[in-house]
Symmetry: C2
Subunit: 633 residues, 2 copies
């Protein structure tokens, strides 16, 4: 069922200024600083076994749960990021750092293959007794992704071999056979890691294990109840099997519920398996869930999971702005899922959401300096929400960095006879298309400009389809092939402009994706956004941040509907950014004399409003911010 | 320091239709139905000791805490309500029901005076080890209020004697003396009950105990930490001493924090003690906290405590509408506090808030049929919020009914030489004023009309001040004495119109409080209400409820600022109600084709909007509702 294969990020070079800057920052600053943080917080030390058991450093929460229990995953994710860095540029110091960790993991691994540093050190007798909460399989998944990335970057097998042994143990432990536990992860992750491994090695057993975990999920009686009873547990979380998407079998699921990151990882694995196993029911479930989220449960920034309470989904159209949780990890994982959906069907809606999540939901998570992060991403702040250098649950830090370090992997795909361009931004690559090596050079100042130029260099003149994504926001897009205009509307199917011809060296396609500043309205059922408007230009959602609006209380503004919104290029800001500006009104607090309510309307005055891309906010110190601006009709 | 003494509710007869209906409903339906509910839920049975210990009926929550632990308080509150009913009209059946409960309590009481049915039955060894969470003193307070009310209604001492013995035990157990525990209640309540008892008996020891509990609160080291450590507890709630307002000594407190009902009960007791003990520092603390709440932390309905998370306060101007907790009990307790503040100073701001809380925050809690309740009171609902017949934590049920059963006690007060009228609504009373018995007959259709006529009948012609509250909303109020107009503005101080003269039999004061429909705006810092308007007429806040607006999505409407809001008397609705109506716009969902976001503005159409008093909503089945309407400027 897989029809499209993404180009590997190692095959695509970023040349455009926008992504080059982000990538360079991650390689130069984020990867080393994350290693320092792992060391400083005792996470690297926690792998060195055996040793006297130190006290728990992250105090357990009210459920007697400490996030320290998934430190292994942080290590796995860092190795993944660091390996992506190596794939861009070999670096002996980073390799030595990874090797040291791998050495510790090798020593920690038990003779039977088991490898979880928390359990081995603290409560080995309890291993595999709480899949619901304690993230053993989730940790294994992230370690596996790290091992795969390291192998791909360096060709060194040691970590991969360790993980293969661990996977043998896991495959022995779980399954439907006699004596096996019919368990599956409380937090999905290992499933998609196993598919990755299958792609790497072709070992079908790994794909089977992923399929087992996905298929078993939600079977009755619920496994998490069974193991909770065996533990004498309180059933607190078990009372909400929706939290872990184990409330019903995955093929029957049609509402996005529970913990958002778990949901996104699960759906990613489901889409992976639908492709690998030609599973139409699984694909349909993915489509239903996609439809549910993108039509009822997603922020305009592609943030998902509005509530801090369950780190997840609530109810349709419940998208509060100031309390939006919209975890960075969830948007990163939405990108993973969208990419898998694009492997199944070339539908612009998947790529539009992928791009929206990339530039807004996910990119926002990493600061300009590459060393500060957002975990949750509200769309409105009174100024108290600010980036942090580390977190008791540092999952988002390395999800942002591993995404950026591998972002070039989301730009291109190929099918049997086509070359597909999903994203734009200045890249160079050479890919096999229809049996020929085809050089591709894309020049663009995207996302600041929608002008894109693509030059193809096939080794030999070859016929194939070039499919260029026409983003949903790009109304009136135009295209030329070797200077000759082609009819975009007539040749676009599901958001992709198809140009089939015999391509020769030096053929040039120019694309003009109009980036007009636009007003976006939410469905009236989203009461948080009612009477409000968001600003967007191209793939970027904008916000009013205090720093650009001195003297204006940014959350107390009104934008008349007839006020023109203009783009404003600001080369002095960060590495150059296009802002938006419009004449609006500011509502003042003065004259209230401390009153909370009064019968006289608030006073207002003219004010020039300036909006900055949402992903750039809070890089100039804390301050109020708002995405949805009250509109004056 | 006490300057004003409220007239007892037993001395004031309600004759106006509005309150008469509510009172009759409570007496005829609520009191008996609450007894049935207490029986049906095993709460009455739980007092019958000793017996085999039955399983806990209310499942413990995730903190292993069951609300069943404060069943004693429910019994105490029901006896209080039922006694108030008896004070209106003796009833042998109710008396027998109360006597049966008192008999059970007498049997349950231990030889040392201790009386808590949960602990006696289940874990006597743990008594007085968790004042923070387990409500022993809170329960004692409500039992005491019940005992006082029953004694006042019937003259029977038995329950009061039981409680006096229990109080002796409590006074022995807690205090600063050698061998005493320096504890105080996690949930204040007993403090104000003790002041009530002091008023009844004059026993200064009870006042001293109340003062001890209030003064000890927040002393360092924190008592709740000490007892938690002794229990080996997790410190979860202890981590937030603000939750129980024990984060600092009460005289240093200046922000309303933590659990809202606890806060209100505490502040009520503080105001009580400020009056009784001439404690200026305590009074100042009350004034600071009052200012904090009413200028930054109170809904337009006088609901307080926006968050379900802590059932309490969050941060300034954080007043979300759809998730507003605004517990009924908290508004009831705000009324108690406001009344105590009025004992100290005759300030219209206290009475305005008292009235606002009465007609909106509190009255909303009880259904028209007198047998259904709101616990939390959002100001916006998608239709899922609805009244319930009982609750695992039924505190609000009897707080609403005891308030209504004694509401006539909030209408009048006297000082050395004045008669004060705080509220209007049709009443008759005879009070001692300046040494003379003065008959007072007030006629009014309040709150539907602001026309009030008061006829005084002093036994002998006497000079005294009549102080009539001029509500803050009543702009352009007019008054006549025996047909002769007097200058209201010139004679009004702090919201009270003072008329000092020699009053003779039959003197008649007419008051005209203009009840124009008004628009109310929230301080622009309340982002939830930004760009929105609420409607008010007299003391009533209005809302759009689906039932009155067929075909209009009430949460998707806009009210132009220049649209006239008209009063609309509807005799066919309930027992007659004044609605508000205005021409506005309705925004339709259609044309969205399931889109969550789009660039085209939502379509709108003209729509006549009809608003109903907030306290009446959800008496015609579930449906969407909204207080703050988007305004079109």
């Amino acid at each position: 069922m897989r029809r499209y294969t993404p180009a590997r990020f190692t095959d695509v070079k970023l040349t455009g200024a926008f992504w080059r800057e982000r990538l360079d920052t991650v390689l130069a600053r984020t990867v080393p600083s994350q290693h320092r943080q792992l060391a400083a917080h005792g996470i690297l030390e926690s792998l060195k076994l055996p040793k006297p058991v130190p006290p728990v450093s992250i105090p357990p929460n009210r459920h007697n749960f400490t996030t320290q229990i998934f430190w292994d995953s942080d290590v796995g994710k860092w190795i993944e990021v660091a390996s992506y860095a190596l794939a861009h540029k070999r670096d002996a110091e980073i390799e030595a750092q990874i090797d040291a960790v791998v050495e510790d993991l090798a020593k920690a691994q038990l003779p039977d293959g088991y490898l979880n540093c928390w359990y081995i050190q603290r409560e080995l007798e309890n291993r595999w007794t709480n899949l619901r909460d304690n993230h053993e399989l989730y940790n294994a998944g992230h370690l596996l992704e790290g091992a795969i990335a390291y192998y791909q970057a360096t060709g060194r097998r040691r970590f991969l071999d360790i993980m293969e042994r661990y996977l043998d143990h896991i495959a022995e432990t779980f399954g439907t056979g006699p004596g096996q536990k019919r368990g599956y992860p409380g937090h999905p992750e290992i499933e998609l890691a196993l598919v990755k491994l299958y792609h790497l090695t072709g070992d079908k057993r790994r794909l089977d294990l992923a399929a087992y975990f996905v298929n078993e999920r939600g079977a009755k009686p619920n496994y998490f109840d069974i193991e909770a009873e065996a533990r004498g547990d309180d059933h607190y979380w078990a009372g909400t099997h929706e939290y872990s998407q184990s409330h019903k079998p995955v093929r029957e699921q049609d509402k996005a519920v529970g913990h958002a990151v778990r949901a996104m990882y699960l759906y990613t694995a489901m889409a992976d398996l639908a492709a690998e196993l030609d599973d139409a029911a699984l694909k349909r479930a993915c489509e239903r869930l996609w439809e549910d989220i993108t039509t009822k449960r997603m922020y305009v920034t592609a943030g998902v999971g509005p509530s801090a309470h369950n780190e997840g989904f609530t109810k349709d159209y419940d998208l509060p702005n100031d309390t939006a949780y919209a975890e960075t990890c969830a948007s990163v994982a939405l990108i993973l899922w969208a990419q898998r959906m694009l492997n199944l069907d070339l539908e612009g809606k998947y790529a539009d959401t992928l791009e929206l999540a990339l530039f807004n939901g996910a990119l926002t998570g990493l600061s300009r300096d590459g060393e500060h992060y957002f975990y949750d991403n509200p769309l409105e702040s009174d100024g108290s929400h600010t980036r942090w250098a580390w977190h008791p649950c540092p999952c988002c830090t390395m999800n942002a960095s591993r995404l950026i370090a591998s972002v070039s992997g989301y730009f291109y795909a190929t099918s049997a006879d086509s070359l597909i361009v999903h994203l734009y931004g200045g890249t160079e690559t050479t890919l096999d298309v229809a049996g020929t090596r085809v050089g591709v050079m894309e020049e663009s100042d995207y996302p600041w400009s929608g002008a894109v130029s693509i030059t193809l260099t096939p080794e030999a003149e070859t016929e194939f389809g070039l499919k260029l994504r026409i983003p949903g926001w790009a109304r009136g897009a135009r295209a030329k092939v070797n200077g000759e205009e082609i009819d975009v509307a007539a040749n676009t199917v599901n958001g992709y402009l198809g140009i089939r011809r015999r391509w020769a060296k030096g053929d040039r396609v120019e694309l003009d994706l109009p980036m007009r500043p636009e007003r976006v309205y939410a469905n009236p059922q989203v009461s948080a956004d009612f009477g409000r408007v968001a600003l967007r230009r191209g793939p970027l959602v904008y916000c009013l941040e205090q720093a650009d609006n001195p003297g204006i209380p940014v959350r107390q503004t009104r934008l008349p509907r007839n006020s023109e919104v203009r783009a404003l290029a600001r080369n002095d800001l960060f590495d150059g950014a296009t802002l938006l500006t419009a004449e609006g009104k500011a509502i003042d607090d003065d004259g209230w004399q401390r009153a909370l309510y009064r019968t006289e309307p608030p006073r207002e005055r003219p004010a020039t409003l300036t909006a900055i891309p949402y992903f750039l906010w809070n890089n100039r110190g804390p301050g109020p911010m708002q995405v949805w601006i009250a509109e004056e009709v």
